[in-house]
Amino acid sequence: MLFHTAVYALFLPTVLGLYWLIGLLRPRGSGLQLQNAVLLTASYFFYGWWDVRFLGLIIASSVIDFVVGLGLEAAASPRRRRWILGASLVANLGILGFFKYYNFFVSSAVEAFGALGIDLHAPTLHVILPVGLSFYTFQSLTYTIGVYRRQIPAEHNPLAFLAYVAFFPQLVAGPIERAGHLLPQFLRPRHVSAAEFASGLRQITWGLFCKLVVADNCAVVVNSVFDHPGPLPGSVALIGAFFFAFQIYCDFSGYSHIALGTARLFGFELMQNFATPYFSQSIPEFWRRWHISLSTWFRDYVFIPMGGSRVSKPRYTFNILVTFTVSGLWHGANWTYVAWGFLNGLYYLPHIALGKLTPAKDAPRHSRTPILIALRVAVTFLLTLIAWIFFRAKTLGAALGMVGEVFSRSLFSNPLPLLRAAGVVTPMAFSAAAIALLLVLEFIQRDKGYALDVETSKWPARWAAYASVVAVIVCFRYTGSALDFIYFQF
């Protein structure tokens, strides 16, 4: 079930009505349990809508981690605790590895041995990747690791725990919540003020704008460029990368906004996942503002356990490269994602070498002139554009070919004849207008969690903002068949 479909428009008010009706009728004790039961049932219904077989996997994963949590609490010896944690990691990562990476590793091994002249015949399986598997696996792992580190207590309420793992607003594409932040919210009565409810609706509206107006319109241009059979001039490749940068940003941040807004309607607060990343002045800053829940997950559970930054520079460099490469692999079983992650790691290296990892706001005053800021933002954005080519291209060869063209004289060729032939000039114009509007609003509201957070504005400005955004969604939304959120595949 997609957030921007009519079915979800029926599903959400139904679940919300039932949920708050229970809250009104039974404000304490069993009411909370019933509300959690409604959330769990709704979440499983939401998830099963894709494929009912997926439910078995999420239930199995949840039950394993619930039992592991209790086991960790009961075990006294560190050795025993390590074994239990290990079992949880093997189970969770085993499921993830099998469904997501089995074919990738098998075919990669066959190719590698083939290159050495050794013929291997390993079977590949037709494995369907359950949507959101990477997200809920990582979220579930924050629980077992948290209990193992004694940062959080083991949960004894199975209903609350299962609802935490399957919470439908963020189940399939995050934000990847920490158990310490989200799980306690299932254990205490939820209250929502009218202002919070209104804020939730506003954030959902903003998410719909990002997804339907910006991301999906950009997709038309992006698909046409990246699915082009032959080589493309650098100018067209760069245009494709530009629109993809906004497609993926608005697709994913749009999902996150809808998730956060929806959760708020139910009385939950989820973590912010994006903070206007394209206004970043450096790559490290970009990664502090892009997919925050995943970046911090890798920081806390991969980078820091490897030693983090409090080690020698070569080791620090190694840690960064490994973290980014693994993060790339998390996105998908393809060498393009690995290359994307590795490239982002490489982008980090000058900052490590120069020791410039401080946020831009703390930089010396002389380097904070508007021109220098704009220049840094532009350079950072261009670097991310190059990396996005790897992310979106179908194969590593195709990505390298496109990047090669971007750095060739064909960058200065006229892209219009090709784009016109592909019939994407008009969609491109609409997408560019949508991007411009997005950037203006995000710049004005850059200190807010989302651009439509106009609660403190005077009512004429507020209503004008609502009317404009709703009008733009209505009139300029993408109208083809509903496109999946890109991150669902991860």
């Binding site: 479909t5 009519a6 202002a195 509903a482």
Partner: protein, 337 residues
């Protein structure tokens, strides 16, 4: 976050927002050309019930729509509309059947281009959602009934938004408004060679992808099943066209399509593709002119043993009298697409 907003105030805001949105929908519905077209489309279908003696129905796309209702006898009615695909034909027939229309014969288009790429998705697709929803159809609502129901609200109608975006794009390009052109005069003023070249290229375009997709076959099966269940006899009609247009489909393909139609119970197929060679019978390579329509109705009627042409037009003189001054025809081409 400020906590000043009360639930009462929020509900009042929601109410105001809803009223404004509803007003915007009403204004859009009554001012937009898209919805005017939709109303015209639906009026044409419900017009069947204004002709109480009609028991024969013509259905198809613009080729069929050239047979204007005013040319038809009281016992026949044409629900065809330019741009219709087989899904639309099915939806309209299902709706008529659902409203207990007494139909005994369906003159269904059997033109090969109905099996081609160009007819897979119709520009009228949203116009028939209402019929499919109303009749509880199991077919035709690929995005689901909820989505189709939502599309009945003008500002949630995806096809309207597409139309709007196209209109905005055209106005930004400052394209001059299309000049009203009389197709028939234009067609007749061409040389034979020009007509042949135009017919060939139109034919190749219209017939691209014939037989490649499963959908048209499925829709014919559904139409046939619907007709069978209601005791309606189907006559497949292949409409006249320029020879070069018709010949862009091979005889083998014609035979295969005919065989398929026969396999689903459409045994009676009247083939008029080469019925006319005089250019005055055509408005363009594949649409008959008014003169052609009258002649065709006479031919179909003769071949199927039924009076289809209105008594008052069954004479060449009255055809001329009905034509607009200066050779301009009444707006039959409005429904052409």
């Amino acid at each position: 976050m400020a906590q000043t907003l009360s639930w009462k105030a929020l509900l009042a805001h929601a109410l105001i927002g809803t009223v404004l949105f509803a007003a915007a929908n009403v204004a859009t519905y009554y001012s937009s050309q898209y919805f005017q077209r939709e109303r015209g489309y639906q009026d044409e279908v419900s017009g069947f019930f204004d002709r109480p003696h009609a028991t024969a129905v013509f259905a198809g796309d613009s080729h069929v729509a050239q047979l204007d209702n005013e040319l038809l006898a009281d016992t026949a009615y044409n629900i065809a509309w330019g741009g219709d695909g087989l899904r639309e034909v099915y939806a309209k027939l299902k709706y008529l059947a659902w409203r207990h229309a007494k139909i005994d014969t369906l003159y269904l288009t059997a033109d090969p281009h109905m099996f081609g790429t160009g007819r897979l998705e119709s520009s009228n697709r949203a116009f028939v959602n209402e019929y499919l929803l109303e009749t509880g159809s199991r077919f035709g609502l690929e995005k689901g009934a909820a989505s189709a129901a939502l599309g009945l609200i003008p500002l949630f109608n995806d096809d309207f938004v597409q139309y709007l975006k196209k209109k905005i794009a055209l106005s930004l390009k400052r394209t001059p408004p299309a000049t009203v052109r009389d197709d028939e005069v234009a067609w007749q003023s061409l040389t034979d060679a020009q007509r042949e070249a135009q017919a060939r290229s139109t034919g190749e375009m219209d017939h691209a992808g014939i037989g490649r997709y499963r959908e048209p076959f499925l829709w014919y099966e559904r139409i046939a099943a619907l007709a069978r269940a209601r005791g309606i006899h189907i006559v497949g009609v292949i409409y006249p066209s320029h020879e070069a247009y018709a010949d862009s489909v091979s005889e083998r393909q014609y035979a295969q399509l005919r065989q398929f139609l026969s396999s689903i119970g459409i045994d009676e197929i009247v083939d008029f593709r080469h019925a006319f060679s005089d250019p005055s019978y055509f408005a363009d390579p594949d649409h008959v002119s008014r003169k052609g329509a009258v002649a065709l109705l006479r031919l179909i009627g003769r071949q199927t043993g039924r009076q289809l042409l209105a008594a008052d037009v069954d004479a060449p003189a009255s055809i001329a009298a009905r034509a607009a001054p200066g050779g301009n025809e009444p707006p039959t081409s409005v429904r052409r697409q």
